[in-house]
Symmetry: C2
Subunit: 251 residues, 2 copies
Protein backbone atom coordinates (compact mmCIF):
# COMPACT_ATOMS: atom_id res chain seq x y z
CA UNK A 1 0.00 0.00 0.00
CA UNK A 2 1.89 2.99 -1.19
CA UNK A 3 -0.72 5.61 -0.45
CA UNK A 4 -2.15 4.91 2.95
CA UNK A 5 -2.27 8.66 3.44
CA UNK A 6 -4.96 8.98 0.82
CA UNK A 7 -7.24 6.84 2.94
CA UNK A 8 -8.22 9.89 4.99
CA UNK A 9 -11.79 11.11 5.02
CA UNK A 10 -11.05 13.88 2.55
CA UNK A 11 -11.83 13.31 -1.08
CA UNK A 12 -8.96 14.42 -3.25
CA UNK A 13 -10.27 16.02 -6.37
CA UNK A 14 -8.17 16.58 -9.46
CA UNK A 15 -6.93 20.12 -9.81
CA UNK A 16 -9.33 21.02 -12.56
CA UNK A 17 -12.28 19.88 -10.44
CA UNK A 18 -11.10 22.13 -7.63
CA UNK A 19 -10.82 24.99 -10.08
CA UNK A 20 -14.31 24.26 -11.35
CA UNK A 21 -15.66 24.25 -7.83
CA UNK A 22 -14.00 27.56 -7.02
CA UNK A 23 -15.31 29.15 -10.21
CA UNK A 24 -18.78 27.84 -9.43
CA UNK A 25 -18.52 29.27 -5.93
CA UNK A 26 -17.66 32.67 -7.37
CA UNK A 27 -20.64 32.42 -9.69
CA UNK A 28 -22.96 31.45 -6.86
CA UNK A 29 -21.62 34.33 -4.79
CA UNK A 30 -22.42 36.71 -7.63
CA UNK A 31 -18.81 37.74 -8.13
CA UNK A 32 -19.43 37.98 -11.86
CA UNK A 33 -22.85 39.08 -13.03
CA UNK A 34 -24.71 37.29 -15.77
CA UNK A 35 -23.74 38.42 -19.23
CA UNK A 36 -20.43 39.69 -17.97
CA UNK A 37 -17.09 38.23 -18.89
CA UNK A 38 -15.14 36.29 -16.32
CA UNK A 39 -11.37 36.80 -16.24
CA UNK A 40 -9.42 35.49 -19.20
CA UNK A 41 -7.99 31.99 -19.07
CA UNK A 42 -4.47 33.29 -18.70
CA UNK A 43 -5.47 35.54 -15.81
CA UNK A 44 -7.32 32.72 -14.07
CA UNK A 45 -4.29 30.50 -14.56
CA UNK A 46 -2.20 33.07 -12.71
CA UNK A 47 -4.74 33.53 -9.93
CA UNK A 48 -5.17 29.82 -9.32
CA UNK A 49 -1.52 29.13 -10.00
CA UNK A 50 -2.25 26.33 -12.44
CA UNK A 51 -1.60 25.87 -16.12
CA UNK A 52 -3.92 27.31 -18.70
CA UNK A 53 -4.86 23.80 -19.82
CA UNK A 54 -6.22 23.04 -16.38
CA UNK A 55 -8.33 26.18 -16.48
CA UNK A 56 -9.61 25.21 -19.91
CA UNK A 57 -10.67 21.80 -18.71
CA UNK A 58 -12.62 23.29 -15.81
CA UNK A 59 -14.30 25.82 -18.07
CA UNK A 60 -14.99 23.11 -20.65
CA UNK A 61 -17.32 21.41 -18.22
CA UNK A 62 -19.05 24.61 -17.19
CA UNK A 63 -19.63 25.41 -20.84
CA UNK A 64 -21.03 21.93 -21.46
CA UNK A 65 -23.42 22.54 -18.58
CA UNK A 66 -24.51 25.79 -20.19
CA UNK A 67 -23.35 27.77 -17.19
CA UNK A 68 -20.65 29.62 -19.09
CA UNK A 69 -20.39 30.64 -22.70
CA UNK A 70 -17.16 30.97 -24.62
CA UNK A 71 -16.56 33.22 -27.59
CA UNK A 72 -13.32 33.15 -29.46
CA UNK A 73 -11.61 36.52 -29.44
CA UNK A 74 -14.04 37.99 -26.89
CA UNK A 75 -13.90 36.06 -23.69
CA UNK A 76 -15.89 33.73 -21.46
CA UNK A 77 -19.27 34.92 -20.25
CA UNK A 78 -21.85 33.97 -17.67
CA UNK A 79 -24.73 32.52 -19.66
CA UNK A 80 -27.91 34.57 -19.66
CA UNK A 81 -31.56 33.73 -20.06
CA UNK A 82 -31.90 36.20 -22.89
CA UNK A 83 -30.02 34.27 -25.55
CA UNK A 84 -32.07 32.47 -28.16
CA UNK A 85 -30.00 29.36 -27.59
CA UNK A 86 -30.94 29.22 -23.95
CA UNK A 87 -34.59 30.16 -24.22
CA UNK A 88 -35.87 26.93 -25.72
CA UNK A 89 -33.78 24.91 -23.35
CA UNK A 90 -36.32 25.68 -20.64
CA UNK A 91 -39.44 25.88 -22.79
CA UNK A 92 -40.43 22.62 -24.42
CA UNK A 93 -43.84 23.29 -25.91
CA UNK A 94 -43.91 23.29 -29.69
CA UNK A 95 -46.63 23.23 -32.30
CA UNK A 96 -47.64 19.84 -33.62
CA UNK A 97 -46.86 21.23 -37.04
CA UNK A 98 -43.29 21.74 -35.89
CA UNK A 99 -43.55 25.45 -35.28
CA UNK A 100 -41.49 26.90 -32.46
CA UNK A 101 -42.32 30.22 -30.95
CA UNK A 102 -41.89 31.91 -27.63
CA UNK A 103 -45.07 32.38 -25.62
CA UNK A 104 -46.69 35.62 -24.60
CA UNK A 105 -47.22 35.55 -20.87
CA UNK A 106 -50.09 37.12 -18.98
CA UNK A 107 -50.05 37.29 -15.19
CA UNK A 108 -53.35 36.27 -13.63
CA UNK A 109 -52.59 36.50 -9.94
CA UNK A 110 -49.79 37.33 -7.55
CA UNK A 111 -49.72 36.90 -3.80
CA UNK A 112 -47.51 36.19 -0.85
CA UNK A 113 -48.47 33.37 1.46
CA UNK A 114 -47.10 30.73 3.76
CA UNK A 115 -45.84 27.46 2.37
CA UNK A 116 -47.75 24.32 3.16
CA UNK A 117 -46.07 20.99 3.60
CA UNK A 118 -46.21 20.31 -0.13
CA UNK A 119 -43.10 22.33 -0.74
CA UNK A 120 -40.95 21.05 2.07
CA UNK A 121 -39.37 18.40 -0.08
CA UNK A 122 -39.26 20.02 -3.49
CA UNK A 123 -38.09 23.47 -2.37
CA UNK A 124 -36.26 22.38 0.77
CA UNK A 125 -38.12 24.91 2.87
CA UNK A 126 -39.99 24.55 6.13
CA UNK A 127 -43.75 24.73 6.39
CA UNK A 128 -44.80 28.29 7.04
CA UNK A 129 -41.94 29.88 5.14
CA UNK A 130 -43.05 32.89 3.12
CA UNK A 131 -43.50 32.17 -0.56
CA UNK A 132 -44.71 33.98 -3.61
CA UNK A 133 -47.45 32.29 -5.55
CA UNK A 134 -48.06 33.42 -9.10
CA UNK A 135 -50.45 32.31 -11.80
CA UNK A 136 -49.82 32.88 -15.49
CA UNK A 137 -51.49 32.18 -18.76
CA UNK A 138 -49.25 31.61 -21.75
CA UNK A 139 -50.42 32.14 -25.29
CA UNK A 140 -48.96 30.87 -28.51
CA UNK A 141 -50.08 32.48 -31.73
CA UNK A 142 -52.68 34.34 -29.69
CA UNK A 143 -54.35 31.26 -28.29
CA UNK A 144 -54.07 30.17 -24.64
CA UNK A 145 -52.05 26.98 -24.43
CA UNK A 146 -50.46 26.77 -21.00
CA UNK A 147 -51.44 27.64 -17.46
CA UNK A 148 -48.71 28.08 -14.86
CA UNK A 149 -48.65 28.09 -11.06
CA UNK A 150 -45.28 29.24 -9.82
CA UNK A 151 -44.05 29.00 -6.25
CA UNK A 152 -40.80 30.56 -5.06
CA UNK A 153 -39.38 31.23 -1.60
CA UNK A 154 -39.88 34.92 -0.86
CA UNK A 155 -36.51 35.16 0.87
CA UNK A 156 -34.71 34.68 -2.43
CA UNK A 157 -36.56 37.55 -4.14
CA UNK A 158 -36.42 40.42 -1.62
CA UNK A 159 -38.39 43.22 -3.27
CA UNK A 160 -40.43 41.21 -5.72
CA UNK A 161 -43.97 42.41 -6.20
CA UNK A 162 -46.79 42.20 -8.67
CA UNK A 163 -45.60 45.26 -10.54
CA UNK A 164 -42.03 44.07 -10.98
CA UNK A 165 -43.12 40.65 -12.06
CA UNK A 166 -45.69 41.82 -14.56
CA UNK A 167 -43.61 44.62 -16.04
CA UNK A 168 -40.50 42.56 -16.60
CA UNK A 169 -38.78 42.41 -19.95
CA UNK A 170 -38.07 38.93 -21.22
CA UNK A 171 -38.55 35.64 -19.49
CA UNK A 172 -39.21 34.83 -15.88
CA UNK A 173 -35.83 33.22 -15.45
CA UNK A 174 -34.32 36.30 -17.04
CA UNK A 175 -35.91 38.32 -14.24
CA UNK A 176 -34.62 35.98 -11.55
CA UNK A 177 -31.18 36.32 -13.04
CA UNK A 178 -30.95 40.01 -13.84
CA UNK A 179 -32.66 41.39 -10.73
CA UNK A 180 -31.97 38.80 -8.05
CA UNK A 181 -28.78 37.18 -9.27
CA UNK A 182 -30.45 33.80 -9.23
CA UNK A 183 -29.35 31.63 -12.08
CA UNK A 184 -31.58 28.75 -13.09
CA UNK A 185 -29.27 26.25 -14.73
CA UNK A 186 -31.24 23.02 -14.59
CA UNK A 187 -34.81 21.83 -14.46
CA UNK A 188 -36.41 18.50 -13.71
CA UNK A 189 -39.89 17.93 -15.04
CA UNK A 190 -42.38 15.18 -14.31
CA UNK A 191 -45.20 14.79 -16.80
CA UNK A 192 -48.53 13.08 -16.54
CA UNK A 193 -51.91 13.20 -18.23
CA UNK A 194 -55.01 14.31 -16.37
CA UNK A 195 -58.15 16.35 -16.64
CA UNK A 196 -57.46 19.86 -15.46
CA UNK A 197 -59.54 21.49 -12.73
CA UNK A 198 -62.58 23.25 -14.23
CA UNK A 199 -61.18 26.80 -13.85
CA UNK A 200 -58.00 25.79 -15.66
CA UNK A 201 -59.94 23.99 -18.37
CA UNK A 202 -61.95 27.16 -18.89
CA UNK A 203 -58.82 29.25 -19.26
CA UNK A 204 -57.40 26.85 -21.82
CA UNK A 205 -60.66 26.56 -23.69
CA UNK A 206 -61.00 22.87 -22.92
CA UNK A 207 -63.98 20.77 -21.96
CA UNK A 208 -63.88 19.84 -18.27
CA UNK A 209 -63.22 16.20 -18.98
CA UNK A 210 -60.66 16.85 -21.70
CA UNK A 211 -57.19 15.36 -21.21
CA UNK A 212 -54.35 17.79 -20.65
CA UNK A 213 -50.68 17.54 -19.91
CA UNK A 214 -49.70 18.26 -16.34
CA UNK A 215 -46.08 19.20 -15.76
CA UNK A 216 -44.51 19.45 -12.34
CA UNK A 217 -41.19 21.25 -12.52
CA UNK A 218 -38.48 22.04 -10.04
CA UNK A 219 -35.83 24.53 -11.16
CA UNK A 220 -32.35 24.54 -9.68
CA UNK A 221 -29.48 26.93 -9.43
CA UNK A 222 -25.86 26.13 -8.57
CA UNK A 223 -25.10 23.12 -6.42
CA UNK A 224 -28.53 21.64 -7.06
CA UNK A 225 -30.24 24.24 -4.91
CA UNK A 226 -33.97 24.32 -5.73
CA UNK A 227 -35.35 27.80 -6.33
CA UNK A 228 -38.71 27.36 -8.01
CA UNK A 229 -41.59 24.97 -7.98
CA UNK A 230 -43.96 25.09 -10.92
CA UNK A 231 -47.07 23.23 -12.00
CA UNK A 232 -48.26 23.67 -15.55
CA UNK A 233 -51.29 22.54 -17.47
CA UNK A 234 -50.88 22.30 -21.22
CA UNK A 235 -53.55 21.94 -23.84
CA UNK A 236 -52.18 19.44 -26.33
CA UNK A 237 -54.82 20.07 -28.93
CA UNK A 238 -52.37 21.82 -31.23
CA UNK A 239 -49.14 21.66 -29.25
CA UNK A 240 -46.94 19.02 -27.70
CA UNK A 241 -44.01 18.60 -25.33
CA UNK A 242 -40.70 18.07 -27.07
CA UNK A 243 -38.11 15.98 -25.31
CA UNK A 244 -34.90 15.95 -27.24
CA UNK A 245 -32.09 14.65 -25.14
CA UNK A 246 -28.93 15.76 -26.76
CA UNK A 247 -29.91 18.62 -28.92
CA UNK A 248 -26.50 20.17 -28.37
CA UNK A 249 -26.21 22.35 -31.40
CA UNK A 250 -22.90 23.77 -30.38
CA UNK A 251 -20.76 20.74 -29.97
Amino acid sequence: MANTLAAGSLTFNPLYKEVKIRITRSLAAGKWKSGEAIPSESRLAEQFNVSIGTIRKAIDELVAERILLRQQGRGTFVATHTEDRTLFYFFHIVGKDGSRELPVSEMLSFDKRKADSRYEASLSIARGTKIFHIQNLLKLAGAPVLFDEITVPAALFPDLDEEIFAQRDGTIYGLYQARYGINVIRIIERLSAASPPPPVAALLGLRVTAPALMIRRVAYTYNDTPVEHRVSWVSTEHHEYLSDLWKNEAR
Copy 2:
Protein backbone atom coordinates in the same frame (compact mmCIF):
# COMPACT_ATOMS: atom_id res chain seq x y z
CA MET B 1 -8.92 39.80 -48.10
CA ALA B 2 -6.22 37.53 -46.87
CA ASN B 3 -8.03 34.25 -47.09
CA THR B 4 -9.82 34.09 -50.39
CA LEU B 5 -8.74 30.47 -50.65
CA ALA B 6 -10.91 29.51 -47.73
CA ALA B 7 -13.95 30.67 -49.68
CA GLY B 8 -14.06 27.33 -51.51
CA SER B 9 -17.03 25.06 -51.10
CA LEU B 10 -15.20 22.75 -48.73
CA THR B 11 -15.69 23.20 -45.04
CA PHE B 12 -12.40 22.94 -43.21
CA ASN B 13 -12.89 21.06 -40.01
CA PRO B 14 -10.39 21.03 -37.20
CA LEU B 15 -8.32 17.89 -37.08
CA TYR B 16 -10.13 16.46 -34.08
CA LYS B 17 -13.47 16.87 -35.82
CA GLU B 18 -12.13 14.91 -38.79
CA VAL B 19 -10.89 12.24 -36.44
CA LYS B 20 -14.29 12.12 -34.77
CA ILE B 21 -16.00 11.75 -38.13
CA ARG B 22 -13.69 8.94 -39.16
CA ILE B 23 -14.21 7.10 -35.88
CA THR B 24 -17.96 7.53 -36.23
CA ARG B 25 -17.77 6.18 -39.78
CA SER B 26 -15.95 3.11 -38.52
CA LEU B 27 -18.61 2.64 -35.87
CA ALA B 28 -21.42 3.00 -38.39
CA ALA B 29 -19.68 0.50 -40.66
CA GLY B 30 -19.56 -1.97 -37.81
CA LYS B 31 -15.77 -2.08 -37.72
CA TRP B 32 -15.88 -2.43 -33.94
CA LYS B 33 -18.77 -4.33 -32.40
CA SER B 34 -20.68 -3.00 -29.44
CA GLY B 35 -19.07 -3.81 -26.14
CA GLU B 36 -15.70 -4.25 -27.80
CA ALA B 37 -12.73 -2.02 -27.25
CA ILE B 38 -11.63 0.31 -29.98
CA PRO B 39 -7.87 0.74 -30.50
CA SER B 40 -5.98 2.52 -27.76
CA GLU B 41 -5.45 6.24 -27.96
CA SER B 42 -1.79 5.84 -28.75
CA ARG B 43 -2.53 3.37 -31.54
CA LEU B 44 -5.21 5.65 -33.01
CA ALA B 45 -2.75 8.54 -32.81
CA GLU B 46 -0.34 6.53 -34.95
CA GLN B 47 -2.99 5.44 -37.43
CA PHE B 48 -4.36 8.93 -37.92
CA ASN B 49 -0.93 10.49 -37.64
CA VAL B 50 -2.03 13.07 -35.10
CA SER B 51 -1.08 13.71 -31.51
CA ILE B 52 -2.66 11.77 -28.70
CA GLY B 53 -4.28 14.96 -27.42
CA THR B 54 -6.19 15.34 -30.66
CA ILE B 55 -7.45 11.77 -30.37
CA ARG B 56 -8.52 12.43 -26.81
CA LYS B 57 -10.50 15.48 -27.83
CA ALA B 58 -12.36 13.53 -30.51
CA ILE B 59 -13.12 10.69 -28.13
CA ASP B 60 -14.14 13.18 -25.43
CA GLU B 61 -17.07 14.23 -27.56
CA LEU B 62 -18.10 10.70 -28.43
CA VAL B 63 -18.03 9.81 -24.75
CA ALA B 64 -20.14 12.86 -23.91
CA GLU B 65 -22.63 11.67 -26.52
CA ARG B 66 -22.71 8.25 -24.85
CA ILE B 67 -21.48 6.59 -28.01
CA LEU B 68 -18.20 5.47 -26.46
CA LEU B 69 -17.31 4.59 -22.92
CA ARG B 70 -13.88 5.08 -21.39
CA GLN B 71 -12.42 3.07 -18.54
CA GLN B 72 -9.09 3.95 -17.09
CA GLY B 73 -6.63 1.12 -17.37
CA ARG B 74 -8.94 -0.95 -19.61
CA GLY B 75 -9.65 0.89 -22.80
CA THR B 76 -12.37 2.67 -24.73
CA PHE B 77 -15.48 0.70 -25.58
CA VAL B 78 -18.49 0.94 -27.83
CA ALA B 79 -21.37 1.68 -25.47
CA THR B 80 -23.96 -1.07 -25.15
CA HIS B 81 -27.64 -1.11 -24.33
CA THR B 82 -27.05 -3.56 -21.52
CA GLU B 83 -25.40 -1.20 -19.06
CA ASP B 84 -27.52 0.11 -16.23
CA ARG B 85 -26.33 3.61 -16.96
CA THR B 86 -27.66 3.49 -20.49
CA LEU B 87 -30.93 1.71 -19.83
CA PHE B 88 -32.75 4.55 -18.13
CA TYR B 89 -31.50 6.98 -20.70
CA PHE B 90 -34.07 5.58 -23.10
CA PHE B 91 -36.78 4.69 -20.60
CA HIS B 92 -38.33 7.63 -18.83
CA ILE B 93 -41.29 6.21 -16.96
CA VAL B 94 -40.91 6.23 -13.20
CA GLY B 95 -43.24 5.68 -10.27
CA LYS B 96 -44.87 8.77 -8.79
CA ASP B 97 -43.39 7.62 -5.52
CA GLY B 98 -39.96 7.98 -7.09
CA SER B 99 -39.41 4.29 -7.71
CA ARG B 100 -37.38 3.34 -10.76
CA GLU B 101 -37.58 -0.11 -12.22
CA LEU B 102 -37.16 -1.69 -15.61
CA PRO B 103 -40.35 -2.93 -17.24
CA VAL B 104 -41.28 -6.48 -18.10
CA SER B 105 -42.24 -6.57 -21.74
CA GLU B 106 -44.86 -8.79 -23.32
CA MET B 107 -45.21 -8.99 -27.10
CA LEU B 108 -48.82 -8.81 -28.25
CA SER B 109 -48.45 -8.91 -32.01
CA PHE B 110 -45.82 -9.08 -34.72
CA ASP B 111 -46.28 -8.69 -38.44
CA LYS B 112 -44.66 -7.52 -41.63
CA ARG B 113 -46.52 -5.04 -43.75
CA LYS B 114 -46.10 -2.19 -46.18
CA ALA B 115 -45.48 1.30 -44.89
CA ASP B 116 -48.15 3.88 -45.40
CA SER B 117 -47.37 7.53 -45.98
CA ARG B 118 -47.24 8.19 -42.26
CA TYR B 119 -43.68 6.97 -42.02
CA GLU B 120 -42.24 8.68 -45.05
CA ALA B 121 -41.10 11.66 -43.05
CA SER B 122 -40.19 10.16 -39.70
CA LEU B 123 -38.40 7.08 -40.99
CA SER B 124 -37.24 8.52 -44.32
CA ILE B 125 -38.69 5.60 -46.23
CA ALA B 126 -40.96 5.46 -49.25
CA ARG B 127 -44.57 4.41 -49.08
CA GLY B 128 -44.82 0.68 -49.66
CA THR B 129 -41.47 -0.16 -48.12
CA LYS B 130 -41.60 -3.31 -46.04
CA ILE B 131 -41.78 -2.68 -42.31
CA PHE B 132 -42.16 -4.68 -39.16
CA HIS B 133 -44.97 -3.66 -36.90
CA ILE B 134 -44.89 -4.85 -33.32
CA GLN B 135 -47.16 -4.30 -30.34
CA ASN B 136 -45.98 -4.66 -26.76
CA LEU B 137 -47.40 -4.33 -23.31
CA LEU B 138 -45.03 -3.21 -20.58
CA LYS B 139 -45.62 -3.95 -16.94
CA LEU B 140 -44.13 -2.33 -13.90
CA ALA B 141 -44.48 -4.12 -10.60
CA GLY B 142 -46.77 -6.57 -12.34
CA ALA B 143 -49.28 -3.97 -13.50
CA PRO B 144 -49.69 -2.89 -17.14
CA VAL B 145 -48.50 0.68 -17.55
CA LEU B 146 -47.41 1.22 -21.12
CA PHE B 147 -48.58 0.08 -24.55
CA ASP B 148 -46.12 0.26 -27.45
CA GLU B 149 -46.50 0.22 -31.22
CA ILE B 150 -43.11 -0.14 -32.85
CA THR B 151 -42.39 0.33 -36.53
CA VAL B 152 -39.03 -0.42 -38.11
CA PRO B 153 -37.90 -0.78 -41.74
CA ALA B 154 -37.60 -4.49 -42.46
CA ALA B 155 -34.48 -3.95 -44.57
CA LEU B 156 -32.48 -3.02 -41.51
CA PHE B 157 -33.38 -6.22 -39.64
CA PRO B 158 -32.86 -9.00 -42.20
CA ASP B 159 -33.91 -12.16 -40.37
CA LEU B 160 -36.09 -10.66 -37.67
CA ASP B 161 -39.16 -12.67 -36.82
CA GLU B 162 -41.65 -13.10 -34.03
CA GLU B 163 -39.57 -15.78 -32.34
CA ILE B 164 -36.36 -13.78 -32.31
CA PHE B 165 -38.10 -10.68 -31.04
CA ALA B 166 -40.02 -12.40 -28.29
CA GLN B 167 -37.20 -14.62 -27.09
CA ARG B 168 -34.59 -11.89 -26.84
CA ASP B 169 -32.59 -11.28 -23.73
CA GLY B 170 -32.57 -7.72 -22.51
CA THR B 171 -34.01 -4.65 -24.12
CA ILE B 172 -35.25 -4.07 -27.63
CA TYR B 173 -32.41 -1.71 -28.40
CA GLY B 174 -30.06 -4.33 -27.05
CA LEU B 175 -31.44 -6.71 -29.67
CA TYR B 176 -31.05 -4.15 -32.45
CA GLN B 177 -27.48 -3.65 -31.38
CA ALA B 178 -26.28 -7.17 -30.68
CA ARG B 179 -27.97 -8.95 -33.58
CA TYR B 180 -28.22 -6.31 -36.28
CA GLY B 181 -25.39 -3.96 -35.43
CA ILE B 182 -27.80 -1.07 -35.22
CA ASN B 183 -26.93 1.34 -32.47
CA VAL B 184 -29.65 3.61 -31.17
CA ILE B 185 -27.82 6.60 -29.77
CA ARG B 186 -30.49 9.29 -29.64
CA ILE B 187 -34.24 9.60 -29.35
CA ILE B 188 -36.64 12.45 -29.87
CA GLU B 189 -39.98 12.20 -28.13
CA ARG B 190 -43.11 14.27 -28.53
CA LEU B 191 -45.65 14.02 -25.72
CA SER B 192 -49.28 14.90 -25.59
CA ALA B 193 -52.31 14.01 -23.51
CA ALA B 194 -55.27 12.20 -25.02
CA SER B 195 -57.80 9.48 -24.41
CA PRO B 196 -56.44 6.21 -25.71
CA PRO B 197 -58.37 4.08 -28.22
CA PRO B 198 -60.71 1.69 -26.39
CA PRO B 199 -58.58 -1.45 -26.96
CA VAL B 200 -55.55 0.31 -25.54
CA ALA B 201 -57.52 1.64 -22.60
CA ALA B 202 -58.67 -1.91 -21.90
CA LEU B 203 -55.11 -3.20 -21.93
CA LEU B 204 -54.00 -0.49 -19.51
CA GLY B 205 -57.01 -0.96 -17.27
CA LEU B 206 -58.28 2.55 -17.94
CA ARG B 207 -61.74 3.88 -18.51
CA VAL B 208 -62.31 4.74 -22.16
CA THR B 209 -62.44 8.45 -21.51
CA ALA B 210 -59.49 8.45 -19.11
CA PRO B 211 -56.56 10.71 -19.99
CA ALA B 212 -53.32 9.01 -20.90
CA LEU B 213 -49.92 10.10 -22.06
CA MET B 214 -49.22 9.58 -25.73
CA ILE B 215 -45.57 9.52 -26.72
CA ARG B 216 -44.39 9.59 -30.29
CA ARG B 217 -40.75 8.61 -30.52
CA VAL B 218 -38.22 8.46 -33.31
CA ALA B 219 -34.97 6.68 -32.54
CA TYR B 220 -31.77 7.49 -34.40
CA THR B 221 -28.45 5.85 -35.03
CA TYR B 222 -25.25 7.48 -36.26
CA ASN B 223 -25.48 10.56 -38.44
CA ASP B 224 -29.08 11.18 -37.40
CA THR B 225 -30.36 8.24 -39.37
CA PRO B 226 -33.83 7.26 -38.13
CA VAL B 227 -34.27 3.57 -37.43
CA GLU B 228 -37.42 3.22 -35.39
CA HIS B 229 -40.78 4.87 -35.03
CA ARG B 230 -42.70 4.21 -31.85
CA VAL B 231 -46.01 5.32 -30.40
CA SER B 232 -46.65 4.65 -26.74
CA TRP B 233 -49.61 5.08 -24.46
CA VAL B 234 -48.85 5.44 -20.80
CA SER B 235 -51.21 5.20 -17.87
CA THR B 236 -50.18 7.99 -15.53
CA GLU B 237 -52.27 6.79 -12.64
CA HIS B 238 -49.24 5.70 -10.66
CA HIS B 239 -46.39 6.58 -13.01
CA GLU B 240 -45.07 9.65 -14.77
CA TYR B 241 -42.61 10.71 -17.43
CA LEU B 242 -39.32 12.03 -16.09
CA SER B 243 -37.53 14.65 -18.11
CA ASP B 244 -34.22 15.47 -16.56
CA LEU B 245 -32.05 17.40 -18.91
CA TRP B 246 -28.55 17.05 -17.66
CA LYS B 247 -28.61 14.02 -15.48
CA ASN B 248 -25.02 13.30 -16.44
CA GLU B 249 -23.95 11.26 -13.46
CA ALA B 250 -20.46 10.73 -14.82
CA ARG B 251 -19.22 14.23 -15.29
